[in-house]
């Protein structure tokens, strides 16, 4: 205490403000990590720090980032969603198969996919709230059931999509005739802004943070905590549906074996983004930065010529380091 105040007296007002912001903000850590990663790869490879690669990274971050937004919502309530990528993959399969061999209009197929993903999020939510099961176990069970369902539904096939609506998010636009942008990036910005607004500017958002911080206290202060948690899982399911749409835009082919590490990568992004796994603390901008860190690392390793076999190893190390750093910075009393 004494040392801190002594240091604060010596620091200039601006420096002190910066220090306070750094210690209190959830986005400072991931921002520094992102800048460091970019600097390292920019200095060590020739191909990393280019406009084209920057655009590629942003395209690569869309799916993981969207999954991570849903994951953030769940983790803010002190839960965890191991089934998010499995929900999304089943969503892509259903949309692609209905629109392809099913002959259903693309809009209807997309609507079915969105309803399905939202409902599946709701199933997890009901099991967590009504039956008071731990989210980790519920979503682990959901993960195996949904992975199996996807495999059975696809029966060893993958389903290409051709409909312009379903691949719309992958459509390219050029800024200044040079910078490649996709419609998906716009959707991502809208989604981020929308969820950020709901979390920080509405009473629902306050309740989400409160439930994650102390569910019992929140319930005793008159909030219907079960309804709040259920709404979070439903909204997360909807976000996974958007992730499914993004995935079809990026690669117009629904594959049951895709995104097997999606749950882990999204958790890594959320943890790097400064969201506490114990709930009640975290932010959407932090998660976006976290997702960028994960993607920059994967992209940078590829640019540096390191075998893609190492990516799973890197993801594993990254999630542990992220939690460890979080624990060391914030102290043990979380």
């Amino acid at each position: 205490m004494i040392t801190t105040s002594a240091r604060e007296q010596h620091a200039s007002p601006r420096g002190r403000a910066l220090l306070t912001w750094f210690a209190g903000s959830t986005t400072a850590g991931p921002l520094v990590a992102l800048l460091v990663a970019i600097a390292v790869f920019a200095l060590t490879t020739d191909t990393f720090f280019t406009v084209d690669n920057g655009s590629l990274i942003v395209q690569q971050v869309l799916v993981t980032g969207t999954l991570a937004i849903g994951q953030t919502l769940v983790i803010l309530t002190a839960g965890i969603d191991l089934a998010n990528a499995a929900i999304m993959v089943l969503g892509t399969l259903v949309i692609a198969r209905l629109a392809g061999e099913g002959g259903v209009p693309a809009l209807a197929a997309l609507a079915v996919g969105i309803v399905l993903c939202t409902a599946l999020g709701g199933v997890s939510g009901v099991l967590v709230t009504r039956l008071k099961l731990p989210p980790f176990i519920v979503t682990l069970g959901m993960l195996s059931v949904l992975t199996a369902t996807s495999q059975l539904y696809a029966s060893g096939q993958s389903f290409p999509v051709t409909s312009p609506l379903l691949t719309w998010l992958g459509e390219r636009r050029y800024l200044f005739g040079q910078i490649e942008l996709t419609v998906g990036m716009g959707v991502m910005v809208l989604l981020t802004a929308g969820i950020w607004f709901a979390l920080t500017q509405t009473s629902w958002g306050r309740n989400v943070y409160a439930v994650g911080d102390d569910e019992e206290a929140t319930r005793l202060s008159g909030v219907n905590t079960k309804r709040v948690i259920l709404s979070v899982y439903l909204l997360a399911g909807f976000v996974y549906a958007i992730a499914a749409w993004q995935a079809l835009g990026r690669i117009p082919n629904a594959d049951p074996n895709a995104f097997q590490l999606g749950n882990l990568e999204s958790i890594t992004a959320v943890v790097i983004g400064g969201t506490s796994l114990f709930g009640g603390r975290g932010s959407i901008p932090g998660t976006i930065l976290g997702a960028l860190v994960v993607t920059v690392l994967a992209n940078g390793l590829t640019q540096a010529g390191i075998d893609s076999l190492y990516q799973q190893v890197a993801t594993g190390i990254l999630v542990i380091v992220a939690v460890a750093v979080d624990r060391l910075v914030r102290g043990r009393a979380t």
Partner: protein, 335 residues
């Protein structure tokens, strides 16, 4: 209180045992070939590696921790075994190296949980990816099929004159040891104490972190043994060996009546649950249900088992609160 608790848990064991008997009888009546010795040997052998993973996992969950990296440790140990064999090392040395690798993996988990103080769910989620990733990095995707005949015999033959497969023997030896540890030693009692309330255990003088450390290391060691059995059973060391086995193991532990919140559960219940899952998988397999659908069935069973334990707990709580209500309570004045 302790008495009712014990009787309730004991009764869960009996419910499971009854379920097992019912399932076995129905299966042998309905499913031709189920009660045959060949099917018995085959089904038991198929679960022999998963069965081993269940033992340390039960201890960890009772101590309010979890290790979901067990299947990846088993896979990595299998890869180490395969590479050692390929390098021309004798079988005994290769198996020792594999066990050593598993122990080191367990020690890494233990270190991160006890010394760094991270939640075991996230740590082992990370090492699940890390260890599996190392399998692929080491082998580069192609399995090693250069396995000595003695190991293949161990993984595919039965004890002479019986239908008991060789590869279930390590489980049959270890299961009583784990039960003895949990129910008959002081450290076993302390494991329950940690799960019941880690803080209280610390203040009661239990060396919580030392026991936790030990449990994670044992988990790694036993997972390595399971990995060796997987190699023996499948006659190859593949990078995706034992992939996804953690789900079956976790399901068995919860189905066996171990509480998600720690501090509750008994080895006999866990063993009955194991028999139940073996019988269920065997039935589904004979009915030509695909592996994926079996996976879905296990996932559903995981959620169902939690539902059942949860509901029985609630009914029990409702009954006890009704009993309490009968005790005359002085009524406060006023409306």
């Amino acid at each position: 209180m302790a008495n009712t608790l014990r009787s309730r848990l004991a009764s869960w064991d009996y419910i499971l045992a009854a379920l097992v008997v019912v399932l076995l009888v129905t299966a042998s009546l309905v499913q031709p070939g189920f009660s045959g010795g060949f099917n018995f040997a085959n089904s038991v052998s198929q679960m022999s590696d998963k069965a081993l993973l269940v033992l340390p996992l039960a201890l960890l969950i009772i101590a309010r921790e979890i290790d979901i990296s067990v299947a990846s440790i088993a896979g990595l140990s299998g890869v180490v075994l395969g590479m050692a064999l390929q390098a021309g090392l004798p079988l005994a040395l290769a198996i020792t190296l594999a066990m050593l690798a598993g122990t080191l993996c367990g020690a890494l988990n233990a270190l991160l949980v006890t010394v760094v103080g991270l939640p075991s769910l996230v740590v082992t989620l990370g090492t699940l990816a890390l260890f599996r990733g190392l399998c692929y990095v080491l082998l580069g995707g192609a399995p090693i099929t250069d396995v000595p005949p003695s190991l293949i015999t161990f993984g595919n033959e039965t004890l002479p004159g019986t239908y008991l497969p060789w590869d279930i023997v390590p489980f049959l030896v270890l299961a009583p040891l784990f039960a003895l540890y949990l129910h008959r030693t002081a450290t076993g009692r302390r494991t329950y104490a940690i799960g019941g309330g880690p803080e209280i255990a610390v203040y009661s003088g239990v060396r919580v972190n030392r026991i936790r450390f030990g449990l994670f290391v044992v988990s790694g060691l036993v997972a390595a043994l399971a990995g060796v059995i997987t190699v023996a059973r499948t006659s190859q060391a593949a990078p995706d060996g034992a992939l996804g086995f953690e789900l079956d193991a976790i399901t068995v532990v919860f189905l066996g009546g171990v509480s998600v919140l720690g501090g509750k559960g008994r080895m006999p219940g866990v063993c009955w649950a194991l028999v139940l899952v073996v019988a269920l998988r065997s039935m589904l397999q004979l009915a030509n249900v695909s592996g994926y659908a079996q996976g879905a069935a296990v996932g559903l069973l995981l959620i169902l088992s939690l539902l059942i334990t949860n509901t029985t707990h609630r009914i029990h709580a409702a009954l006890t609160s009704r009993r309490l209500r009968k005790v005359p309570v002085p009524r406060p004045a006023g409306p």
